[in-house]
């Protein structure tokens, strides 16, 4: 018998405890059984040990209406959701590693890509950027707080219940299992199965599916929409009414501009989603026929959904653009090239994004004249995006570029955005779309954007502002490793999907013909690289928050040199001065 099978015969718990016990007894013997006395020095203080009147502990976080605290809550929530959604992604890739349906069942696979999409879009990206907006916009525009601090808190606290509703089946099942482990069987808790209808919730399937969890998903999405709208109104009103005297429209920073535009889009897009969701709920439960074949028809759902869905894409990506525009110049040693044009292009995207929704529906048999006009607008929207890209490149041109971690992510984000954008231009042209629609090409295209530029911008911001948020510095070498791993990972993971799409493989299927196996395996390998990078990120930030070197000079990034020591860092400087007073 080999060693491993011997081990499986003996309970591991027994092995581990005896070995540890033996070692512990030996160690205790060596230390002469003395219990060391306890030092009273405070141990792991965070770098920002401010004295404050806030209550401490859990109570503080449950009752806070301070924009900075709420910003932190949002970011923590978004990180949790992202890790959960990433688990889904890894499980998707595990299934796709082989051609057959052999790891999960087809139903589980369908549930995975549904929950992955919903989680990432509604509970990771939007909250992450809303959190940064909450923390930094009041500081950047010189306001004391957001305009409506209590609504701000409510908007955040609607998100956890919304998330629980959307992923409810899993959570009730966890409760069911917990009860079952102590002998109580409550069947109701097992009746909700994860939804399998895709994040686009296409009718008629979303009406026919009997799983009651789908209703909870719809309610949860509706609730998250309310939360997003409230947060957006708050951002808009704050920027319009709470600006300091010195902050005019002409010198408003680029991050606030993009968040203002994003919030404007939210204001027009999310109510449409909300209404459509209520109609779908009515179709499912009260016998209405909005989206039934003999009523408004399934195409009506697609129109309403994508009238929200395409602007949503820009709701996700504009804040990322804003962050790149903000951070990139700081490490290029010169001002953002063509600031005004970046603002104009942001506003242009905001308006145009409502005029392109039907490019998601080219293959549904619309009138060709209608189709052509949507194609024209879709191609036109590439122009403001290209303006931004060229402005970023011009900013780097002749600049004194420093490859700090945030910069690696910004430039990596531009790279992936170029690939994502160019593949998108192809999709916007009708003949190409008819071939590639609903193949892996589409998945590859939008992942270059969501995983490439959007997540990269979030990472860049997390590093760039880390010293300001925690008063400590992160480990820069680990940060750089994370940056390079992520760039390589995204190309290795999503380039094969583009090729698989050219091969014509439809997406959303757990099994596929064997010829695609090699490319799928390369893609899974890339996903693992991204995953390793993300774990390095998490470890780095958690450990640096506990033990990283303490920041004493607010100019961590040497911004004074190039005259870019902007408002949030000036604010940080006064905070640091107060801390020194307090620490003596």
């Amino acid at each position: 018998m080999d060693v491993i099978s011997v081990l499986t015969e003996i309970p591991g718990l027994l092995v581990a405890t005896w070995v540890l016990l033996g070692l512990a007894i030996y160690a205790g013997y060596r230390q002469n059984w003395q219990l060391r006395s306890v030092a009273a020095d405070g141990g792991y203080l965070s770098g920002l040990g401010f004295e404050s009147e806030k209550p401490t502990g859990l109570f503080r976080w449950l009752t806070t209406v301070d924009h900075k605290d709420i910003g932190v809550l949002y970011v923590v929530f978004a990180t949790g959701a992202a890790l959960w959604g990433a688990t889904d992604a890894m499980m998707i890739r595990t299934e796709l590693f082989t051609a057959g349906t052999d790891v999960w069942s087809a139903e589980t696979y369908n549930a995975l890509f549904t929950t992955h999409g919903l989680t990432m879009l509604f509970f990771f990206v939007t909250p992450a950027f809303t959190g940064l907006a909450n923390y930094f916009i009041p500081i950047l525009v010189g306001a004391d707080d957001m305009s409506f601090p209590r609504i701000n808190a409510i908007a955040f606290w609607l998100l956890p219940p919304a998330f629980f509703l959307v992923r409810g089946g899993l959570i009730t099942e966890v409760m069911g299992k917990m009860l079952a482990s102590v002998g109580v069987h409550w069947e109701l808790l097992f009746s909700l199965r994860p939804p399998t209808i895709g994040w686009t919730l296409y009718a008629p399937r979303s009406i026919i599916v009997t799983n009651p969890q789908v209703d909870l998903v719809l309610l949860g999405l509706h609730l998250s929409g309310l939360a997003t709208i409230m947060a957006s109104i708050n951002i808009i009103v704050t920027i319009f009414t709470e600006r300091d005297e010195g902050v005019t429209w002409a010198n408003l920073d680029i991050f606030s501009w993009t968040l203002l535009t994003t919030s404007g889009i939210v204001l027009f897009a999310f109510p449409v989603l909300g209404s459509a969701l209520l109609m779908l709920i009515a179709d499912r439960n009260f016998g209405t026929t909005f989206f039934a074949v003999d009523g408004g028809g399934p195409i009506l759902w697609q129109h309403l959904f994508w009238f929200f869905g395409h602007p949503e894409v820009y709701i996700l990506v504009l804040p990322a653009f804003g962050l790149v525009s903000l951070i990139l110049p700081k490490f290029a040693g010169r001002k953002l090239f063509g600031f005004k044009f970046i603002v104009y292009s942001t506003l242009a995207i905001g308006v145009l994004s409502f005029g392109v929704w039907a490019h998601h529906m080219f293959s549904t048999g619309m009138d060709p004249r209608l189709r052509a006009s949507f194609m024209a607008v879709s191609l036109a929207i590439a122009i403001p995006s290209a303006v931004k890209t060229f402005n970023w490149m011009a900013t780097l041109w002749g600049g004194n570029v420093r490859w700090a971690t945030p910069q690696i992510f910004c430039v990596g984000g531009i790279m992936t955005f170029i690939v994502g954008g160019v593949t998108g231009v192809f999709l916007a042209s009708i003949p190409v779309d008819l071939v590639l629609h609903d193949t892996y090409y589409v998945v590859g295209h939008f992942h270059f954007i969501v995983m490439g530029v959007i997540t990269f911008a979030a990472f860049a911001a997390s590093y760039y502002w880390f010293p300001l948020l925690t008063g400590r510095m992160f480990n820069r070498r680990l940060g750089r490793i994370h940056g390079y791993l992520s760039i390589v990972g995204v190309f290795v993971a999503f380039m094969p999907m583009i090729l698989i799409g050219y091969g014509g493989l439809p997406r959303r299927s757990a099994s596929y013909p064997g010829v695609f196996e090699a490319l799928q395996q390369v893609s899974t390998f890339g996903a693992v690289i991204i995953g390793i990078g993300a774990l390095i990120w998490l470890t780095n930030l958690v450990q640096s928050y506990r033990l990283g070197p303490i920041v004493t000079d607010a100019d961590v990034w040497n911004l004074r040199e190039s005259g870019q020591f902007s408002r949030e860092w000036q604010w940080f400087e006064t905070q640091l001065e107060e801390r020194t007073k307090f620490r003596r």
Partner: protein, 152 residues
């Protein structure tokens, strides 16, 4: 707080989070990994999930934290007790994977190996971090950050 109590507090925190993570993993994978059966096998109670799980909890709350307390100085990764906790947890994980994996293979085995490792790392981290916090030992005052130092 005195050291054994701090260690147990660390164990409680760690095992609570770890159990939650394992539960989520179990449900997320639609019970394909049979994690709690693996826990039962690990605890030497194959087939009896409830009792096996109870033993697992007791070990996680008392046996390992107390051993950690006694062995702390000899575990590599110091002076941060959280890192040392993770080292200990990796050792435990190796045993867990070898004895608990049952007849999983292929993709399921990969998911099982990776996610149980992450759960163990969380356990070890929390055990060490809480213990270090309550006993206030090890690196007290961190270095000052020096922007001109690019050696890092």
């Amino acid at each position: 707080m005195n050291r054994p109590l701090s260690a147990v507090a660390g164990g409680v925190t760690g095992i609570a989070v770890m159990t939650l993570l394992l539960l989520f993993l179990e449900v997320e994978t639609r019970s394909n990994l049979a994690i709690f059966e693996a826990v039962a096998r690990f605890a030497g109670m194959p087939g009896n999930v409830t009792l096996g799980f109870l033993l697992f909890l007791l070990a996680g709350v008392f046996a390992w934290p107390l051993a950690f307390m006694a062995l702390e100085q000899y575990i590599p990764g110091g002076p941060d007790p959280a890192t040392r906790g993770m080292v200990l947890a990796v050792a435990l994980w190796v045993v867990f994977v070898l004895t608990g994996r049952g007849d999983l293979s292929g993709g399921l085995l990969a998911i099982y190996v990776i996610f149980t490792l992450l759960a163990h790392l969380c356990y070890g981290f929390l055990l060490g971090a809480v213990y270090g916090r309550l006993t206030s030992e090890s690196p007290v005052e961190a270095d000052r950050y020096d922007p001109t130092d690019v050696s890092q």
